[in-house]
Amino acid sequence: MANKTRILFCNCTYAQVVPKSTKEGVLRKLCESEAAFDAVADLCEMSARRDPALQRFAQAGPLKIAACFPRAVKWLFAAGRAPLNRQWTEVVNMRTESVDAAAGALATEAVTSNLPDDHKPPMAGSENRTEA
């Protein structure tokens, strides 16, 4: 089952920005399912520590991440030297989604890629600089 979509759950342990009821509800539903999954205490901490486990997640094929905003998750992994593959990755935002919506998205095998597109902005001072 090498290409089976993996699930990564972030508990955002060191902040209260993800509603407690949402993260507890999503974790409970994962535990009630038969799914194998990875749960981490805090992706921010792992990114700051450049934890090599981030590379394991980023390189293991299709991945669903239950965490926060896709833009933040994309650059947290990049800062942790583990850039995510845009085609393989779906971020489920527990700051905005309900328990049922988040758990439902994790339970689906197909990955709906939703990381922001890569974009190279003009550098400050360059002649081609344009307003955003």
């Binding site: 799914a35 194998a36 205490a41 600089r129």
Partner: protein
Amino acid sequence: MSLEESRSLRVVVYEGEGSAPLEAQARYDTMAALLQEGYSVTRTDGRQAVSPDDRTSLLVMGRFGSDGPPTFEGADEARAVSVMEIGDRDPESITELVRGRRDEIDGFDHGAWKPWFPVIDYDRCTNCMQCLSFCLFGVYGVDGENRLQVQNNDSCKTNCPACSRVCPEAAIMFPKYRSGPINGDRVSSTDLKREKMKIDISSLLGGDVYQMLRDRSEKAKSRFSKERNPDKALNERKKCLTKLAQSGDIPDEVLMSLPAPDEIQRRAEEAAAKADKARAAAMGNAD
């Protein structure tokens, strides 16, 4: 030991062949307790490889019963894999055992540092170095190609998002911040206008946020020296700090920890010089 050098312990809840599965409630209680303590936890049915990474030790736990645990590939001292029978233990005693294992391997003490630091959105960053010249705490630097980077994330002041306020492109995120776009939410055109407006406001305040801080600090100092009633002086200080906090969204704790005005000036000049040098070098690279 730096954050990057620290070693972590990952717990694997093994429910595959050779182990009886946990009840859903026990599984949830155990995982929630371990996550709260800062550990990473993998639940596996044995069909996935759970090999450790560099700097990661594995603790495989399960209900292995009287036959004992199965043999795990790579489970030896060299690969830092250990196995634990949990039987009917409650989450607290499991957590206690895991803590003991963490101490044995001198693992990272999770929770000692709140992970608050800037995360750069390089899809937006234009390398203007405003953040580098703004930050007094040496959080920012440049890489070998003179590209802005976060170099000392543990030097960042907890809950202070001030550098993101000076970024004209809303490219600096603090994922644990309460609102967008600083928390990583999409950047709208309204957000961008607001970010640019904040720069204008800082210009109106004298063109230099730190000059404003210095002026306020000097005024406050002079007020305090004239003020003989300590309660009134304290109230005045609180009022002054509240105004500053509101204008820059800087937490009181950070303002209270700012160094003396002349030290602020020295660090601001140092940061500005660092930014100027990086900007010049980056422009040189671009030519």
